[in-house]
């Protein structure tokens, strides 16, 4: 029986510059790149040297921890550069794309009769496995584990985030194929959170448990849905995957090709014409950013949404998991008596001479200023108002900061990912880096226990 979930605690961030629902095919990029930071906790071992030729879908490197797990090139071309950082850690792998794209072809098989192990092997070999993430630890799923359930959030409530239904319109066949394949991996259910049962792209998909979810952000985060539908216990594993990535898996299963193409929302107040572009994973952002135009020279470009994304330079590349790219103004300026004067043009979770509570539908043009300095935790009771999970957020953050493993476990660190703490970080009066604290806590737990 599907559940009807109403989220009450939360905060919708209405920002200027939501993407208009028209899609343009972006000009093709010359160079494509993979950021290794996208794959948290993976130690890459290169399979191709600089100068080597690869096809689209051909492996570039594998995971040292699990050699079956391959990471593939989104396009065919020549591996032109491996950018390394401190201690020769690989940061970026760049591929110069061929004019004519060649795909590595995998064998397709009948999904209804296929064995789970065969499908798993195909996903691992084809480079689709990294799309599947697991909790606990919010890392790429361990192929050896059996998840008790798989969760997919069928909509997004993040500020300026892409509209999933719009992006995936017409991809029902691929979605269904991917769902059929994933169903073999778990004895449990595949849960999909939808905001509208009729108009959702998942409305016609079979073999999933559709849960109606309503309410403000973070209702659309998969972590919120897991917590309300079937929370994770110690020792359990659940897998999560985003709808866009399901399409790539579905296409692989149907055609045997790894097609890195996806629709990306370009949004934010610094974009002149915010809209959707079809492009490929790892494409140069400049190939579509300047097609829409930018208003301002001093802007921040973000791979992902404004709460969880990562900063990228305008000459950077689309991240592996990202379906949104945002450009918002940098806030690197002082403001006279900014701490005590009445504020009308910024979002606040209080009413301390801040007036965003007056009009809930007003759109804001927020910049990247921190609006204050980093402080110790002082105020209490604020996070709870925007944090719908059945977890004590302040106490869990403090447990992570003091590295108390027992308490981290007991307070539910297994259930969360850093993104679940993005909204508490946004409203934090002490300007503490919640997502970083949670990430470090998860890493520590993984290292010590996982």
């Amino acid at each position: 029986m599907s559940k009807d979930i109403r989220i009450k605690k939360g905060l919708n961030l209405n920002l200027v510059g939501a993407a208009e629902q028209t899609t343009t095919k972006s000009v093709s990029s010359n160079v494509y790149a993979l950021y290794l930071d996208d794959f948290h906790g993976i130690t890459p071992k290169m399979l191709v040297r600089e100068g080597g030729e690869v096809k689209a879908g051909e492996p570039l490197f594998y995971n040292k921890g699990n050699e079956e797990m391959l990471f593939v090139s989104p396009v065919s071309g020549e591996l032109v550069e491996i950018v390394r950082g401190a201690r020769r850690r690989i940061l970026t792998i760049k591929i110069l794309a061929d004019k004519e794209q060649q795909y590595l072809e995998h064998k397709t098989f009948d999904l209804s009769s296929a064995e789970a192990a065969d499908i798993k092997k195909l996903l691992l070999v084809s480079g689709c496995w990294p799309f599947i993430k697991q909790r606990p630890y919010d890392v790429i799923a361990n192929p050896d584990a059996t998840p008790k359930a798989i969760f997919i959030s069928g909509f997004s409530t993040s500020p300026l985030a892409a509209d999933v239904d719009y992006q995936l319109k017409g991809k029902e066949k691929e979605l269904q194929a991917a769902i059929n394949a994933l169903a073999k991996f778990t004895p449990g259910k595949i849960h999909v959170g939808v905001s509208n049962a009729q108009s959702s792209v998942f409305s016609g998909i079979e073999g999933v448990e559709k849960n109606m979810v309503s309410g403000p952000h973070p209702a659309g985060l998969v972590g919120t849905q897991i917590n309300k539908i079937n929370p994770i216990n110690k020792g359990e594993t659940v897998w999560t995957i985003s709808p866009q990535d399901l399409v790539i898996i579905g296409e692989l299963l149907l055609t045997g090709k790894f097609n890195a193409e996806r629709t990306v929302a370009l949004a934010g107040s610094c974009v002149k014409k915010p809209k959707y572009y079809t492009t490929k994973i790892g494409a140069e952002i400049s190939t579509f950013l300047y097609a829409s135009g930018v208003n301002d020279d001093n802007f921040r470009l973000i791979n992902g949404d404004v709460l969880t994304g990562s900063t990228v330079k305008p000459d950077g590349y689309l991240g592996f998991y990202n379906t949104t790219v945002c450009a918002i103004p940098e806030g690197d300026d002082y403001e006279l008596f900014g701490w005590n004067k009445p504020v009308f043009n910024k979002v606040s979770s209080t009413r301390a001479l801040t007036f965003s509570w007056l009009n809930k539908n007003k759109k804001y043009n927020l910049d990247t200023n921190t609006n204050g300095e980093h402080r110790a935790f002082v105020v209490t009771g604020r996070y709870e108002e925007v944090f719908p999970l059945d977890i004590y957020p302040l106490q869990l953050l403090k447990a992570c900061m003091v590295k108390d493993l027992d308490e981290m476990e007991q307070l539910g660190l297994y259930e969360v990912a850093p993104e679940d703490f993005s909204l508490t970080e946004f409203i934090c009066i002490s300007k503490q880096p919640h997502q970083k604290i949670i990430r470090e806590g998860l890493d520590l737990l993984y290292q010590e226990i996982g």
Partner: protein
């Protein structure tokens, strides 16, 4: 934008130097910094600690202004007798009251902020962290909760003690166990008990006058007895003759500088609840707790379990709801109990914490006639117990999780199985 540029250049000059925190404190007072987000969320809500603290100060300002006028009013009324037909603008808001009040109260404010901030700056420079805003509120609370004639040197010593022992030794703002302002108040009370209690300290000039009388001057003594003082001595009739209920509620009574006006405290409390800065849970439950204890005492009197010669009788008989409008209870509930650092941090815990503060305040008030003001001791006591309350509240969440664990569906890892299957296929 000359100033902005100039300050920015100075900031770069001081960067990495020892005095940087001191300079930054002034700089960030003028300008919110040009700092941008890196990692984590790219945008942030507008609220910061300065704004939060500033909101509390705004709620306190009416109490301070009232306290200034009341200091003058109490002094002149004690000398010349209370006016017959009291009129607000004729007898209360006038230049005489203001000048006397300002010259007695503002030095307290200046010493409190001056000494406290010097200590904060010294610690910030030594430890190399930014000057945190906690003292902005503490510095305002302190002059409001001390008697008007508190000698400045006493206050200075108490502030140093309160900031160093009450806060900095624990690691500064956000780390302290006890409310710093109440630590200062408690230090004053226990270090100088002869000065800080009795009926002479509450009205300006009373102590001086009694010294003069002792020296042989032929003058009338000034009585500065508070409502609770009257009650503790069993002089209820005398008290009602001097102050009526409205006066108690509006605050035209002797007491610590800023805590007499229940009306303004109520408005301040509503402002803090509306702005979501202070916890309504603590305030509401503390009021309920105080009323509950008051009702119990009233019931004891009603049931005849206590005789009217008992020294507790008059305070126990005092109508339960009147406890809220006399003494420092209302001020303590609104401005001290709601301190987020030293109070309970969980929502459930706040209910318990607030209730016990109100409950114990009235209990101390009644059972300790030698010192009838129990609220600060009650809050300090509950400060100590707040982490324990939170611990049990959080344990409730942990237990729920443990219970869920019994039904966990954990599947064994499939490595070995699948490897064998793969082998079988190849053979």
């Amino acid at each position: 934008m000359g100033l902005k540029q100039k300050m920015h250049e100075l900031k770069l000059k001081y960067q990495g130097k020892k005095m940087a925190p001191a300079f930054n404190a002034f700089h960030t007072f003028l300008f919110t910094p040009d700092e941008t987000t890196h990692g984590g969320t790219h945008v942030k809500a507008v609220d910061d600690l300065k704004r939060t603290m500033n909101t509390v100060i705004m709620a306190l300002v009416p109490c301070l202004i009232f306290g200034i006028f009341n200091a003058g009013y109490q002094h002149y009324s004690a000398l010349n007798g209370f006016p017959e037909n009291f009129s607000l603008f004729e007898h209360f808001i006038n230049w005489d009251n203001f000048i006397l009040g300002a010259t007695t109260v503002l030095p307290l404010v200046i010493v409190s902020y001056g000494i406290g901030l010097i200590v904060e700056f010294i610690f910030a420079v030594i430890k190399g962290h930014e000057v945190e805003e906690g003292y902005l509120v503490t510095g305002m609370l302190v002059p409001l909760i001390v008697p008007v004639d508190t000698p400045l040197w006493m206050l200075a010593i108490a502030v140093v003690f309160g900031v160093v022992i009450g806060k900095e030794v624990f690691g500064g703002t956000g780390m302290n166990i006890l409310n710093p302002a109440l630590t200062i108040r408690a230090f004053l009370f226990f270090a100088y008990p002869t000065w800080m209690s009795g009926d002479k300290v509450w009205v300006h000039g009373a102590v001086e006058r009694s010294n003069e009388i002792a020296a042989g001057a032929n003058l009338d003594a000034i009585s500065g007895e508070t409502v609770l003082g009257f009650l503790a001595q069993g002089n209820t009739q005398e008290m009602y003759a001097k102050f009526d209920l409205a006066e108690m509620f509006y605050g035209f009574i002797p007491g610590s500088v800023g805590e007499t006006s229940t009306l303004l405290i109520l408005l301040g409390g509503l402002f803090l609840i509306f702005t979501k800065i202070a916890s309504w849970r603590i305030m509401l439950s503390a009021v309920v707790g105080a009323l509950a204890m008051g009702l119990i005492f009233n019931g004891v009197v009603e049931a005849g379990w206590i005789q009217d010669y008992s020294k507790f009788y008059e305070l126990m008989r005092f109508d339960f709801w009147k406890h809220l409008i006399v003494g420092g209870l209302a001020f303590g509930i609104v401005f001290m109990a709601t301190d987020p650092v030293t109070g309970s941090q969980t929502n459930k815990g706040k209910w318990i914490y607030g209730f016990l503060i109100g409950f114990i305040s009235v209990m101390i008030r009644v059972f300790n006639p030698g010192y009838p003001e129990g609220v600060f001791l009650a809050i300090l006591l509950m400060n100590v117990f707040a982490p324990t309350i939170d611990h049990y509240v959080v344990q409730g969440n942990v237990k729920k999780r443990m219970k869920r664990l019994k039904n966990a569906t954990i599947y064994p890892k499939t490595t070995e199985g699948s490897a064998e299957e793969l082998k079988a296929e190849t053979v």
